[in-house]
Symmetry: C2
Subunit: 291 residues, 2 copies
């Protein structure tokens, strides 16, 4: 059972939040948004990753979920399970948590400290409010698809030091975007989550997808093209959203950078379009008939 | 650095909640109470503990923190880090979480699923509201000290299956109790936390301390007396509180069982009193001049 299956099952059985299954936060009456995420040593960060950046990432990951709902970031709590080799780094962990909070105007509210594992586990809870929580399920055919930054190669550093785009998320919520997610598992996979929740498809224009410098750098050593990195790499934590074109026109004056990368279509699925035509692509990056 | 030191340091540096350092929940404007706790395999439960009871305990521990603040229990979130040998038990874990919620009228709001450790880690977040959050710091000399149930020997079963005393906590908050905590680390140690936060001491009447059947059962095999178990065993999750005697007189008509076990005194410290006099006792259970 993977996370998607787990969450789907959990929400099918006990779907008690007023938000939909798989949304980035639970939304309570009054617009209170709450989210919880764990980062685990050896998965989301390495054994050698500095304590400060572990704390920073743990906080930023949850705060990014608030951003994806269009919620202000207000508070953060952290439960730490600290193995022996990390005991001397607790202060740095907390400094990192506080730094992530500072970057988005949130406050560290409290914590829990435990031991008993060989790997560091930090679980963070982010709290905030949204007057207009943006679900994943609001995309409609004809809307445009946009992203708030260049993609790919986050493993070279951005996966630890990214700024949660809370400010942008709040602004986009106010402007009236219809569906939003933060890109944690790759553009295509997270786009597919919006498609599935909204029962639509998306067509991306190949030349419009913003490829990061890190994606180009990584492609020199990997066997993938920079574009493949931009399509499939995870942990960029940029916001991916769908909205009416008029909303995009207003948003582009407020949010920089902002890239219009495609449009929402009726038929479920993902496509990439260039001068050579339109080719179907799988959420995990496989391009049908591609090279 | 132990949890107390960690939390003290954390709150001294970043004491941003309107509640005091070391309170059971962070309290936000509007009376929103939030708490986070991790339970770790090999520490708070065993490798053989059934998945259902692991989930139940993880939920109940956080919900008990709401009880200790006098907050209604509204929502629970859970982040699970699931090792290979527990993968087949995810449904039972969630059933346990839901059962804990059901017992106190809360709802399971969402979750996060991760892998990467050899031991199961469940981190739960409980959310609720209190019109009158009860801190640890409100005890004053002359008040009585009470507890909501018999103590000791929870390791024989109650540490997994206890009911979080949310209903009692809410009633006690309304009645106006001055200081409250849930007994997670033993009567004396948690009493000492109230004393420290309130800058007072407590005298317990030896014959008034309610000793559980489990404490008596355990003492047949341990080298401790039933009373020692009642004073020092952790994880009973009963509520320990201080209030004016008139408040106690009203509370005893509403909350059953309820035991008046001592009184608050001005001099910081803990004492146990019986027909032989008053003897000082350390928070970890050592009785000065005791046998």
């Amino acid at each position: 059972m993977n996370e998607e299956e787990f969450l789907e099952w959990l929400f099918r059985r006990f779907g008690l939040s007023i938000s939909g299954p798989g949304d980035d936060c639970a939304v309570l009456p009054g617009g209170l948004c709450v989210t919880v995420d764990s980062v685990v040593e050896g998965k989301e960060f390495g054994k050698e990753t500095e304590g400060f950046w572990v704390g920073y990432k743990a906080g930023a990951v949850s705060l990014s979920d608030l951003a994806a709902m269009g919620a202000r970031a207000e508070g953060l709590l952290c439960a730490a399970v600290v193995p022996p080799h990390r005991r001397s780094q607790v202060r740095e962990l907390v400094d990192g948590l506080v730094a992530a909070c500072c970057r988005v105007g949130a406050k560290l509210l409290g914590g829990d400290y435990a031991t008993g594992t060989q790997r560091l586990v930090l679980t963070t809870v982010a709290l905030g409010h949204s007057n207009r929580p943006v679900p994943r399920s609001g995309a409609e055919p004809g809307m445009v698809v946009c992203v708030t930054g260049a993609l790919g190669g986050s493993i070279l550093g951005k996966h630890l030091s990214f700024r949660p785009k809370v400010e942008e998320g709040v602004a986009l919520s106010r402007l009236g975007v219809a569906a939003m997610i933060d890109i944690s598992d790759g553009l295509l996979l997270d786009a597919w989550r919006i498609c599935r929740a909204s029962r639509v498809g998306m067509v991306f224009r190949r030349e419009s997808i913003p490829v990061s410098a890190a994606a180009r750098q990584l492609s020199r050593k990997s066997r993938k093209s920079p574009l493949q990195h931009a399509l499939s790499d995870g942990e960029d934590f940029e916001l991916l959203f769908c909205c009416e074109r008029s909303v995009y026109e207003r948003a582009r004056n407020i949010i920089v950078p902002l890239f219009l990368i495609g449009e929402v279509v009726e038929e479920p699925g993902l496509w990439i379009e260039d001068s050579g035509g339109r080719r179907r692509v799988e959420p995990w990056g496989y391009v049908h008939g591609g090279d």
